[in-house]
């Protein structure tokens, strides 16, 4: 026993921790499959007689899961696209090119990370909804998140690690900076691109306040918004409100959790790096 578990108390602590973190997710799944909500201890275990897929049908009828998922996907996809194009360009320039004002741009990028976004909600709402009339549009949804600064920072860190000789050789061969970036630098930092996509993904996919403010039409709302509207207004009238809410919650949580588990290595290393170096 001692050899198997050199430090049983430590292991037990971690196990209790894991239970506390994972149980709500397990309970979310169980609750979403219950025909009748069962808040007793026995209800935490699947009961063959009380299992149903009806809650998923119910929530789909109320907020049309397909359309909501599509909206979440377009919102998230737009942000990822903006970050992968303009963020990679910025990260590359900050790491490898010498131009006037580089230090200032870098300082600005770090400063942005500590500005609480919620403070900007009111002026952004006035600008985007009232001045530019972009309420109920994908563009208005994407604009404030278009380039993820954390991802720019990660790209810069990876580009910095490439050896300088590579770039010298390429520029002697007459390649211009864009060609060097596309043909030499990007293929060498592929893991960073994946990390950038993952870090960027959880922002808009999970974002609630901003899309909630600017989308009033239900057919444009991302899933986080339509689910919360269901939670606050419709659910009181439903037959099994918890079941339907939990079914929606499972659909909202699944892509992020699956993506994270599949690529957990990239995720953890990126957080470590930005934490230590930032």
């Amino acid at each position: 026993m001692r050899r198997l578990l050199p430090n049983p108390w430590r292991f037990l602590t971690l196990l209790v921790g894991a239970f506390v973190f994972l149980f709500p997710f397990y309970y979310m799944l169980i609750g979403s499959l219950q025909a009748e909500p069962d808040p007793t201890v026995r209800g935490a275990f699947p009961e063959p007689g009380n299992l149903t897929g009806q809650n998923y049908v119910e929530i789909d009828k109320a907020i049309s899961l397909g359309q909501s998922l599509l909206n979440s996907g377009i919102f998230t996809g737009g942000v990822i696209l903006g970050t992968m194009v303009f963020g990679v360009l910025a990260g590359y320039a900050l790491a490898r090119l010498q131009f006037r004002g580089r230090g200032a741009v870098f300082g600005l990028m770090l400063l942005v990370q500590v500005v609480p976004f919620q403070l900007l909600t009111i002026p952004l709402y006035v600008m985007i909804v009232r001045s530019y009339g972009l309420a109920d549009s994908y563009l208005g949804m994407i604009a404030p998140f278009a380039i993820n600064s954390v991802a720019v920072f990660i790209f810069r860190q990876y580009f910095l690690q490439l050896p300088q000789e590579l770039f010298d050789a390429a520029s002697v061969d007459g390649a211009n900076e864009l060609e060097i970036l596309l043909r030499i630098a990007i293929p060498l930092v592929r893991p960073a691109l994946l990390t950038g996509v993952l870090v960027t993904f959880i922002g808009p996919w999970n974002e609630f306040l901003w899309p909630f403010l600017i989308t009033k039409q239900q057919d444009l709302q991302p899933l986080a918004v339509s689910l919360s509207n269901y939670l606050t207004t419709v659910s009181a009238r439903a037959a099994n409100p918890f079941g339907a809410v939990l079914a929606g919650a499972c659909v909202l949580a699944a892509p992020a959790v699956a993506l994270f588990i599949a690529f957990q290595r990239q995720f953890i290393s990126s957080s470590l790096e930005s934490g230590v170096k930032g």
Binding site: L5, L108, P116, E165, L209
Partner: protein, 321 residues
């Protein structure tokens, strides 16, 4: 790999004619003005425009609105928006709902920040050993952090409502009124929810910091006869101090941004505003009730409050050296 040999012979320099020399001189002058690779400016231009439009301008705009009588109009309408000095600030500061929300976020931070530091450092330290199922633990701690709050709130409502599993298990010990409708317990429950949700991220920060604590220090401590607990206090805690400063600051900023949880968990900051956060009140006043000037004043006050708090915390946690 398309990696080239490190030393490529440069083309031999030929004697240049006068025009070439002049061009060279011009390039040198441009180089000192714009930098060696001015194309870099073009590469960062879109990002810079984004930062200006989404951060710098709205920030200035928020301060401007907070000092003017600002209201919503149809796009393009030209109206007079007189300068009103500190009127908006006086209005919000004398509003009991606003004062309550600042008190609430204070309660929130008092619970959330110490709990976050203690639990994330403790779990990171436990995780930092050669232990079975290490990846499994790391992943399971990180899962709440990557999941949308809207999704997780659903299951917390199910767990913590009047007849939920938590009260069923507690039996006669269950609080009455229940957690989220109890004016004394609503804010602490939200604070614990947010601690739970964000903890995985902070555990990873501490895990990274723990890699930088020198092994020699632990050896020296055990040579001096320090036990596990003593070396945790004397080596680990001081060793991760820079990370602790970061954790405290980030937890404070996250707490100041609180919105989704009071909006959904306690039905809009209930009971009776006992769990309303400043951002929630800012949303209600600024957008629901159509007073963006008052909302902006709350936002500016919130940022000033966070900055002051950050300075105090820095003094309290110690210098980063």
């Amino acid at each position: 790999m398309n990696r080239r040999p490190a030393t490529v012979p440069k083309p031999a320099r030929r004697a240049r004619p006068a025009a070439g020399r002049r061009r060279e001189a011009l390039r040198a002058v441009m180089g000192t003005v714009l930098g060696k690779q001015p194309i870099g400016s073009a590469f960062v231009a879109p990002y810079l425009v984004f930062l200006a439009a989404i951060f710098a301008y709205p920030l200035a705009f928020a301060v401007y609105m907070s000092f003017h009588d600002y209201f919503f109009t149809a796009p393009g309408a030209i109206v007079d928006r007189p300068f009103v000095g500190f009127d908006n600030y006086v209005t919000v500061l004398s509003d009991p709902a606003v004062r309550r929300s600042f008190l609430n976020v204070g309660i929130f931070l008092l619970i959330n920040v110490p709990l976050t530091v203690v639990l994330s450092l403790g779990l990171a330290n436990a995780l930092n050993a050669a232990i079975r199922w290490r990846t499994f633990f790391r992943v399971s701690y990180y899962v709440p952090y990557v999941t949308a709050s809207v999704a997780v709130v659903g299951v917390w409502l199910f767990l913590f409502n009047e007849n939920g599993l938590v009260n069923t298990v507690l039996g006669p010990l269950a609080p009455s009124p229940s957690w989220l409708v109890n004016s004394k317990l609503a804010m602490p429950t939200i604070a614990i929810y947010v601690t739970w949700k964000q903890l995985g991220f902070f555990i990873l920060l501490y895990l990274a910091a723990l890699q930088n604590v020198s092994k020699d220090l632990y050896e020296a401590a055990s040579m001096d006869g320090a036990g596990r607990i003593k070396s945790f206090w004397n080596v680990t805690v001081p060793g991760v101090r820079p990370a602790t400063i970061l954790v405290v600051l980030l937890a404070t900023v996250t707490g100041a941004n609180l919105f989704t949880e009071p909006y959904l968990l306690t039905g809009g900051g209930g009971p009776n505003g006992a769990s309303a956060s400043p951002v929630l009140v800012m949303y209600q006043k600024g957008i629901e009730q159509g007073n963006p000037d008052l909302g902006s004043a709350i936002g500016v006050l919130l940022v000033i409050g966070v900055l002051i708090l950050a300075l105090i915390e820095r003094l309290f946690v110690g210098k980063d050296d």
